[in-house]
């Protein structure tokens, strides 16, 4: 932008073009004007920012229209609208991360990570508030529960989803069964998560008697939510494997199932792995299905097949809705935010893992 100002003589080719600093002049003017206008109605930062943005887009468009013509004006208008939409889309994300960091970090400590809520009562919270001592109790049981339930949900849904996708892509011939599976997978994608929870609860009530609530029931509920996502993403990844590779393998006298196992799936594995990881990230934050299937626990339970279990989302839910000490809710709120921070970190780690897996498995094309 500044290169034009360095030139001694203005090039004939840049005649009729605005100099690079014009956009900054317009921006400064818009900021000042917006400050003035918002001061008239009672100054606040939000109104100032919005007004400044509106003035800037209008001003920049008008200035460009006057100096460079309508085509350039339309171009700059659209450019600023696109950038503006990007910023607006980014704001909630940044806001969420900021809020969770701000409120969660104070509660995040070694004790919080490695103790449970066992024995932490309202009296304990009251005492810590009155004496100003650190908040006791932690989310260890919920972290363990989240990891265990998600692990078992993944273990159930990945083979089913993977094999269903392999069937659809490699063996299905567009018949009635194919179309039925595709249709029901689409329907399952839209199932509300509480319905999946009720389904799992009802299924286990039928088999093991009413009131069966364990971590594994929650895993089944989550896998109902995960399977369609895994099927869909795997199916798409398998479909983009070039047919030439399958034919090359067949032409070497390799059987179909070996071709799928050793050529098709490895070629698509990076996409499949990141699809699976994103499916995990999608269900790790589910609350409703956990509540109706795994119940709620405040002590550590390492056995998914027996006893109630907590996960981070249900931990947050209970800490906010029924604070441990009804008179001093601050310790509970702090614990809830800290748990929310851990949950977000988990999801972010999963996304990073998905990218690493995608990179590690990607077909090698370097020359």
């Amino acid at each position: 932008m500044s290169s034009s100002t360095l030139q001694k003589r203005r090039s004939q080719l840049t005649k009729g073009r605005l100099p690079g600093y014009a956009v900054w002049v317009v921006l400064g003017a818009a900021v000042v004007l917006a400050a003035a206008v918002s001061a008239l109605v009672g100054f606040n930062v939000f109104a100032w920012a919005v007004l400044a943005a509106v003035f800037f887009v209008l001003g920049a468009t008008l200035v460009t229209a006057a100096a460079e013509g309508s085509r350039k004006a339309a171009d700059s208008l659209m450019t600023y609208l696109v950038y503006g939409s990007f910023v607006i889309a980014l704001l909630p994300l940044l806001s969420v991360i900021w809020t969770v960091l701000e409120r969660g970090l104070p509660g995040l400590s070694y004790d919080f990570l490695f103790t449970s809520m066992n024995g932490v009562t309202g009296a304990v919270d009251n005492a810590s508030v009155e004496n100003g001592t650190p908040v006791l109790g932690g989310a260890y049981h919920a972290i363990v529960g989240t990891l265990q339930i998600t692990f078992w949900a993944t273990l159930v849904s990945v083979p089913i989803g993977l094999l269903a996708a392999v069937y659809l892509v490699e063996y299905g011939k567009g018949g009635a069964l194919d179309r039925a599976i595709t249709f029901f997978v689409d329907v399952m994608t839209g199932i509300p998560s509480i319905v999946a929870g009720l389904f799992a609860a009802a299924l286990f009530a039928l088999v093991f008697g009413p009131g069966t609530r364990t971590g594994f029931v929650a895993s089944v509920a989550l896998s109902v939510l995960m399977i369609p996502v895994v099927v869909r993403s795997t199916e798409e990844m398998l479909r983009i494997v070039p047919n030439e590779l399958r034919e090359a393998s067949y032409a070497l006298g390799v059987r179909k199932w070996r071709t799928i196992l050793k050529v098709v799936v490895p070629t698509a594995i990076s996409g499949i792995a990141s699809g699976v990881t994103l499916a995990i990230a999608r269900v790790v934050g589910e609350t409703a299905p956990i509540l109706v299937t795994a119940g709620f626990a405040s002590s550590i339970n390492l056995n998914v097949f027996q006893g109630w279990m907590s996960t981070l989302p249900t931990f947050i839910y209970y800490q906010i809705l029924t604070p441990t000490s009804p008179t001093n809710i601050d310790p509970s709120t702090q614990r809830a935010w800290a748990a929310a921070l851990i949950l977000i970190i988990m999801v972010m780690l999963l996304n990073v893992v998905a990218r690493l897996i995608a990179r590690a498995f990607a077909p090698r094309t370097s020359r």
């Binding site: 034919e247 006298g253 070996r258 490895p266």
Partner: protein, 259 residues
């Protein structure tokens, strides 16, 4: 280790559409046979019926007999996998496996079938196959690198090495040079001439000079019109097809006058 192919009254269908009609042809062992003809006349379709690759496409089927040294490929008891192990194929576009190194690509036919092979045997097989495909000197120092990093001509020769590594009786080539430059094409043509000593080679080509250069016998396919089945018009020694064809349409095609 090469076998002859005899085709009797072969009709090839895509679902209900008759793509190639009534082909009778005998392909000698240890020879190069070229299929020429206009696009869409069924040369590639017919070539794919010779190792049962045709039926990979849903709805595709054949009627008639294809005899490999007298054994019918389409007998109901025959496993297509056995057929493809004996009759290898090289495709129009080079298609090395992107997840495998050069070495693994050559060994693909062995490894994908989970056959056990000692390391020294594998090394020998890799060197022999790559040498057979005239590629050894170019890649011997980078066998562990991905096959997709080679140039197009090298990739195609890698695919040929991969095909001969499973020691087939017959090698089918579906326009193997159509995506390559003249120098790579020359390398492949030289290779075909060498392969003739050990294998039966069948090649589909759009390049008539190529057919004239490499093949012993040439088959001309033609199609009467859109939606009509392709036919084998004439099959004779290459010199006869190009210099003294019996059929008028063959003469028109090889001399560039048609329509």
């Amino acid at each position: 280790m090469s076998k002859r192919i005899d085709v009797k009254d072969l009709n090839v269908y895509y679902s209900k559409f008759l793509a190639v009609e009534n082909v009778n042809i005998s392909i000698e062992a240890r020879s190069v046979t070229a299929f020429i003809g206009p696009s869409g006349c069924g040369k590639s379709t017919f070539l794919r019926t010779l190792n049962r690759m045709h039926e990979v496409i849903p709805g595709a089927r054949v009627e008639g007999e294809v005899l490999l040294d007298g054994d019918d490929l389409y007998d109901s008891a025959v496993d297509p996998v056995t057929v493809r192990g004996q009759i290898g194929m090289v495709f129009q576009r080079p298609n090395p496996f992107p997840t495998m190194s050069i070495r693994d690509n050559v060994l693909a036919g062995v490894k994908l079938n989970n056959k056990r092979i000692s390391r020294s045997d594998a090394d020998d097989l890799v060197e022999k196959s790559l040498s057979g495909a005239n590629l050894w000197n170019e890649v011997k120092d980078r066998l562990g690198r991905p096959g997709s990093g080679l140039s197009g001509g090298q990739q195609q020769r890698l695919c040929i090495a991969r095909a001969i590594a499973v020691s087939p009786q017959v090698i089918l080539m579906d326009e193997p040079c159509s995506a390559l430059d003249p120098i790579s094409t020359l390398a492949i043509e030289d290779l075909i001439n060498e392969l003739k000593a050990d294998y039966t080679v069948v090649i589909v080509t759009h390049n008539m000079q190529q057919a004239a250069r490499v093949s012993d016998r040439t088959a001309f396919f033609n199609i009467a019109g859109t939606g009509m089945p392709g036919n084998l018009i004439e099959y004779a020694d290459t010199t006869t097809i190009f210099n003294n064809p019996v059929q008028k349409s063959t003469e028109d095609y090889v001399s560039g006058r048609f329509g």
